[in-house]
Symmetry: D2
Subunit: 255 residues, 4 copies
């Protein structure tokens, strides 16, 4: 089975670029399922019913989120009502939504888990323990995890912790694709960060001069998305239907 995971889609500009390029990529690579991180898919950050619907209509099957999951009030209901929209599973139990879903693909089922790291981020309950709890309740042989986190040390150690227990672990949040794609010793596909879907000449999607101003002056700066040519950072996990192991990881940057 071929599963594509797409890095944080930024704003309507990123959504439109995804829509323009995902269908042909799916055909070209024979992709069976698409997961995309949508935590920044709304203009102005977070996600909205409009941006979520746009991504689903563009060929995304499961949307994951992260630290920006709840930036938009209008999305709260959606987390409860929409089966294939996830937020990190280790958010407190009072938060809307859930962090695990199963997609029925006919002969097989695919599990998707969303978790968030805690190093240099808002303190949530341990993603290691939460992953244990979810797996203890039972997940399909083919299950992938979007681990939304900052620190490479936390990401890679989480990958090793899951090695042999899920099909693949990929990171999101830094908006920069890493080049450490690999298959871990016990068969789990791994990549520290998928990267970003949005404007190339940008700082994580934002106009560089605005971030520079913020960094230099330490004063409040209203961020605006960059424009111009876009790219879509993603990774294709080719997974063995029987064992659930990853057979190959292909990093892809569509520009």
């Amino acid at each position: 089975m071929n599963i594509l995971a797409i890095g944080d889609v930024v704003g309507s500009i990123g959504c439109r670029f995804l829509r323009a390029h995902l269908p042909s990529l799916k055909k070209l690579k024979g992709i069976d399922l698409v997961i995309a991180n949508g935590e920044n898919s709304a203009d102005g950050n977070g996600l909205t019913p409009v941006s979520v619907q746009f991504l689903f209509d563009s060929g995304v099957d499961v949307i994951t989120a992260g630290n920006h999951s709840f930036r938009r009030k209008e999305s709260y209901e959606l987390y409860d009502s929409c089966e294939y929209l996830l937020r990190p599973a280790n958010f407190p139990s009072g938060a809307p939504g859930k962090g695990f879903c199963v997609v029925d693909m006919g002969r097989t089922q695919v599990g998707v888990i969303n978790l968030m790291g805690t190093v240099y981020m808002d303190g949530l309950d341990s993603p290691f323990d939460e992953a244990d709890r979810i797996l203890a309740k039972g997940v399909p042989p083919i299950t992938l995890i979007d681990f939304h986190a900052e620190a490479t040390g936390e990401k890679r150690s989480f990958g090793y912790y899951m090695d042999g227990r899920v099909s693949a672990v990929f990171g999101t949040h830094t908006h920069v694709q890493t080049a450490d794609d690999c298959i871990l010793p016990k068969g789990t596909g791994y990549l520290s960060d998928l990267g970003m879907t949005g404007p190339i000449q940008s700082v994580l999607g934002v106009q560089p001069e605005l971030v520079i101003e913020k960094m230099r002056t330490k004063m409040p700066v209203r961020f605006a998305l960059a424009e111009g040519d876009c790219k879509m950072d993603c990774a294709l996990f080719h997974i063995d239907d029987k064992t659930g192991n990853t057979l190959s990881v292909e990093r892809i940057q569509i520009a």
Copy 2:
């Protein structure tokens, strides 16, 4: 001119791997100058006179450092006496050593600057201002910066801030190579992180099970370097001798 920049060399195992592979890479690619981040080159972290000499003897021309610059007392004198060993320039003025050097290559000179980010790291003076101060005093047309930092937002905005003002900006510290190598609009070569030189099956060089234990228990864990097959993450900047601009960036992972 071809300048190779090598990501954090971890321990004696990483130093030996570098020595085994750097000479042939230099011949193969016609490399004129080699910069390597050595902040973790000593076993047990930091750097020592022995690890520094080993790297120089192995073909490294300039050694940069980072947050682990001063982990080893025996290295303090070296920072003052050794012209081509740098620590981040934005350390307080009382710290040993300096953050800028010029290598005389005969017909041309090459400047190397080492700076450290401040987001999610110990608070140093602004690397943006410090870069301005160094450039105001004058640097060679060919000058490269090792920006040792954690956050991709700080790294990329610093790259844009330096665009057109230096030949290249490459990041270190996360020990994971990024795949956003590019030439910025005004001619500066850029890569968010070079990655690491050390054991492949590891979490930033350390045995995965030890980092997992630390993450799961939150208890003190003594870290030990992993063993087994190594890799050397690096990037080759092909620079125009006249303009000082980068003509191409090639990411390399020797394994």
Copy 3:
């Protein structure tokens, strides 16, 4: 019932000062039970069987800890074997020890809970949720909480969260006593931080010039405890035996 809570006891110098002054304070104030934070009671930080025994022998009934709970390997067994030595209850379940105990005072029982904050500290599971879990299992009508935390916002909001549910919430960790002692609207006694037991002319117990050097140079500095005159920061909670409410909070600084 009169319960005395003593702020972080620092080193053997702090332990000795406590021993010299606690007995007379107990008599003077008619104190029934003494809780002391011992996370720094060993010279060189953490706690050891020797420092723990010294505190118990000096009249302390329950010892709590914090982020330094596990600095000393020789203390690990003690956390499991000693009923009245606590570490924060929201440490991962794999950690030695427990975060709740009940002291049998004859006609009444007194519960003591130790929890740790997560703002600006190592990320543990939510202390709010953990407190709920402990209370759900049942605690005596007279129960006090040592909330070891940094940020005043987290401390005060936790106090309000517990208001009317436990007898008292007092903070530790900053080593500086606060002056916001009060009885919250529903009867819970509260103080953001008890302060420290140790040398007066110090920065949290450490020689000021060493901390200044660390702050100014950002280089590694080996900390050593200050010497000279000491003080013992503490607070006396006068609690209604029947309701478990706090009737008065008295801040005390013995010097």
Copy 4:
């Protein structure tokens, strides 16, 4: 000379309470000069021309700020035009305003410096170095510093660093008054935090249930100021006109 320093004034409710009580306190204590931290004096955080004018009209002579200095665009000009409105001196040089002023009291002059810490806060240049630079340019024998910071270790070490060099160092930012008022060995008056001027039943001025919700759910919560009875936390420094040393520090909580 008697100088009163007032902790962070929160919102119009805090401003009104200050206006109601400052005049009588000034008379009662024979206060010559009043410094107040105004970084939260506007409803909705930050400060505005209206809140600044209100404080000046109420008897405040110098207003200091902190991390919220630039939350309100409408205040930017004021920082440049108003001599007695300060923001931390170690903000980058591009920021509006200045961090040092001198008040002419006729026979004597009084210097006021505003600085911000860097531990657990946005990374500014070193306040230790910035203080050195300001003192090197010359300050009056009577000079006080508002050190707006979070960590007690940074605050106390800064106090010792300034001991004997300025008249007094008092902290702000945590909104909780500390009880470590003292005169340091070389004559500088010191208090880690002045506390807050605003509603008593609150978490740093905010309604407790809102902060609890934020802490428990990790979701965005719009903060609103608490109402009800207020207090004014402050400290009175009695300073020797000739030596500039502090003769006594009196903590005051007006409720």
